[in-house]
Amino acid sequence: MAVTVKTFASASEAAGALSSDRSARYLGGGTLVMRALNEGDVSISTVVRASDQALTRIDASGPRITLGAGVTFARVLAERELGFLHAPARSIGGPAVRNMGTVGGNLFAQSPYGDFTVALLALDATVAVQGSFGSRDIPIEEFLQARERQTGTLVLSVSCTRPTSTEAFRYRKIARIKPKGGSVITLAAHLPISGDRIAGARIALGSMAPTQIRARAAERALEGRSLDAATIAAAASAATEGTSPYDNALGSAWYRREIVGVHLRRLLSGQE
């Protein structure tokens, strides 16, 4: 059977086509779907696209920012107001991939990809999706936990609160090939400071489990404390708790467990 491409003017029509056909996939920038098709993934028979302008909108003026699902990483990088997301956007692929790859598609990228989502997870983002029962907002963590069941829903946008300072949000991707390699592990930390104490610590990890996950034990070690050497050491030693890394060509599960604490310590202590 040939692959059918369906293009809709509105996101809701596209969402309808997506939810009614199990072999349908939404094509954002094509960096995942076209790769799968080229490699012979016969589970995809319908490609759904939407030309809806709402999907490519960026709202970065206020304290809460919203990125349409179809916003590319190149556009994130071109937006001065989105400076705090430049490091994760720049860590994805090469210029060609960043020019096509989208924020929405990244939510579905399997490890060793999906680095931008690690950043969004640390920022407690909200994912707006359009399903067969209308649109709704889902906390990103909940979205990721149910990701395998999300293929029939269309992501409309992602929103999160801007970090209060550049120091408060940190990101690091560990790759063997720079600058374009897949992730060995990816780390993002959001550390809002209230007084001189951390309040609402978020640590997100990529490639440490089947989906991007939060390192809750490390967060607990940081919560309510000042970011000193002892706190950092406690967070680093708790980094592997609750993770379930796996072996792939880029690194073994053992290796990932060994290095995640080291890199978390460097990230938190501001070391290069």
Partner: protein, 530 residues
């Protein structure tokens, strides 16, 4: 631009040559930089069909049953090709130069020997339809114990990977299970050395990762011929390999290639051409067979892994007096070119150094891994990595500067190499001196004054008394000849200068091999009299 250091090699080259030593423009450069070079995959032929293969999901298994009934009924399928459809479904690449036994099928028949081995080929109207049919082929495997480690593969009772080589080692000269190098008495020298250092080195397979994946398009031409657009980096080698596998004269084919989107050794194996041509023969239509990226990365042949043990004896003054090496080349499930890599490796030992006692055993081993092939200096590169790591460690052990340590032990013109050729045009000393100079690495005057052209030869040119292994050798059967060795028996060629006679006594007399009355040179066998 290459610089010939005239201050060092004054009389090395005539400066009045017209081409040699002069810069020249590559003839394909303009096409490459302007994006107008055409590659094999730039041809879209009318009525072109697409071929995809069903690959083994098992590393080692007997094929109980292959069910293609559902795939045959799949939309767009024109032809399903099985092993029985391949005219000569067993080949080894170097049979073209009469080296090695045919051991690899184009499509597996009774057994698969590595994960990803092709079993069935499907020719369909579109790539998509070929993929859909591939997903409908049912294969009933009977898993067999697999072996993935070169030393495990040599243990008694190890699973036999490839029945052509039941000991899991390539057979040299139809007798030997490894390449052996003996020069002097390494064991005696190790016993009297001031320090002995033994180390183990393990390399991983390395993928060539070409921009353009392996592929070919074959199309029926007039007069029963086939035109083949191909990515091969060894065009005539591929022509002859296809002629053998498809059992037709090589002038059946018109191969068009030459523009390779990245080869590096990974496009010698002629993996796509035979099936693309066979598909065109069976359907009468143009057939395209191109590896996907994952196929290229996972099942395209890599540089093979090697395990190397080096045991060196060194004196306090820095002279390396003995080097004993055991190396295992992981050929994967089939031979491809690793057998030849082991020969090159043995000839290269002990590296570019003059060491009076050298002992080498180099094995080409079969395991249930992806078959390995050529890649940029294979047989030498990994061994050199191990040897140079070892040289640094030895220098540290005796408290010498690593640069000076290399100059002290470097080979020089006139020295006898372990494989009994006189060293000529040596330049390691000069390379180290220039590297030290460029890196502003201080070396002492006596080492700055050293030269490859001084103090070589003499006692260093002598082949030392060499004890031979006591094991009795079975007599070699008469050389097997194939139709691919077409040297006319009457041709006489000028004999290259005879090398110094080897010191060890020759093995028990062989039955006379068919004689052509000529001496020929082969990079595999060296100079041989036939």
């Amino acid at each position: 631009m290459l610089e010939l250091r005239k201050d060092i090699f004054a009389d090395e080259r005539d400066d009045n040559l017209k081409e040699i030593g002069k810069g020249t423009q590559r003839q394909d450069m303009l096409g490459h930089v302007t994006g107008t070079s055409s590659y094999f995959n730039d041809h879209k032929l009318q009525g072109m069909l697409h071929l995809k293969v069903v690959r083994s999901t098992q590393a080692h298994a007997r094929l109980r049953h292959i069910d293609t009934t559902e795939a045959e009924r799949s939309a767009g399928v024109r032809r399903i090709i099985r092993g029985a459809d391949v005219p000569r479904n067993l080949n080894t690449l170097l049979s073209l130069i009469n080296f090695g036994k045919d051991d690899e099928p184009s499509l597996a028949v009774d057994k698969v020997r590595y994960k990803g081995e092709p079993i069935v080929a499907i020719v369909a109207d579109s790539e998509r339809e070929a993929f859909e049919a591939v997903a409908k082929v049912r294969i009933d495997y009977e898993p067999l114990p697999a072996v993935f480690d070169v030393e495990d593969a040599l243990k008694p009772g190890a699973p036999v990977v490839n029945e052509t080589y039941p000991k899991n080692t390539f057979t040299y000269h139809e007798v030997y299970d490894h390449q052996k190098l003996r020069f002097g008495d390494a064991d005696a020298a190790l016993a009297t050395a001031d320090h002995v250092l033994e180390q183990r080195y393990q390399m991983s397979p390395i993928e060539h990762a070409p921009t353009e994946t392996n592929g070919a398009i074959a199309a029926p031409d007039t007069n029963g011929r086939y035109v083949v657009y191909t990515s091969t980096q060894a065009l005539f080698f591929s022509v002859d390999t296809c002629a053998k596998i498809l059992d037709v004269p090589s002038n059946t084919f018109h191969f068009i290639g030459g523009t390779v989107g990245g080869g590096f050794g990974g496009k010698v194996d002629t993996l796509t051409e035979p099936l693309a041509i066979l598909g065109a023969m069976l359907t009468g239509r143009p057939v395209r067979y191109v590896f996907g990226r994952e196929e290229e990365m996972q099942y395209g042949p890599p540089r093979g892994a090697e395990r190397i043990y080096i045991k060196d004896g060194v004196m306090r003054d820095g002279r390396v007096v003995a080097r004993k090496i055991r190396a295992y080349f992981d050929s994967g499930a089939y031979t491809r070119l690793s057998s030849y890599a082991a020969v090159k490796c043995a000839a290269h030992l002990p590296g570019p150094y003059t060491i009076p006692n050298v002992y080498g055993d180099v094995y080409c081993v079969f395991t249930n891994r992806t078959p390995a092939t050529a890649m940029r200096g294979f047989g030498v590169t990994a061994m050199d990595f191990a040897i140079e790591c070892q040289m640094d460690k030895l220098a540290h052990l005796v408290g010498m500067d690593p640069m000076e340590f290399r100059i002290l032990n470097a080979y020089r013109d006139g020295d006898m190499k372990a494989h009994r050729r006189e060293a000529k045009n040596t330049a390691l000393i000069e390379c180290v001196q220039v590297a030290a100079e460029k890196a502003k690495w201080p070396i002492r005057d006596e080492f700055k004054r050293a030269s490859s052209r001084k103090d070589g030869g003499g006692s260093r040119a002598v082949i030392p008394p060499t004890p031979t292994d006591s094991r009795t050798r079975p007599a070699a059967p008469a050389q097997q000849r194939t139709s691919y060795d077409r040297l006319p028996p009457t041709v006489t060629r000028e004999s290259p200068r005879e090398p110094p006679p080897p010191a060890p006594p020759p093995p028990s007399p062989r039955p006379p091999a068919p004689s052509h009355g000529a001496t020929r040179f082969s990079s595999v066998f060296g100079t041989r009299r036939r």
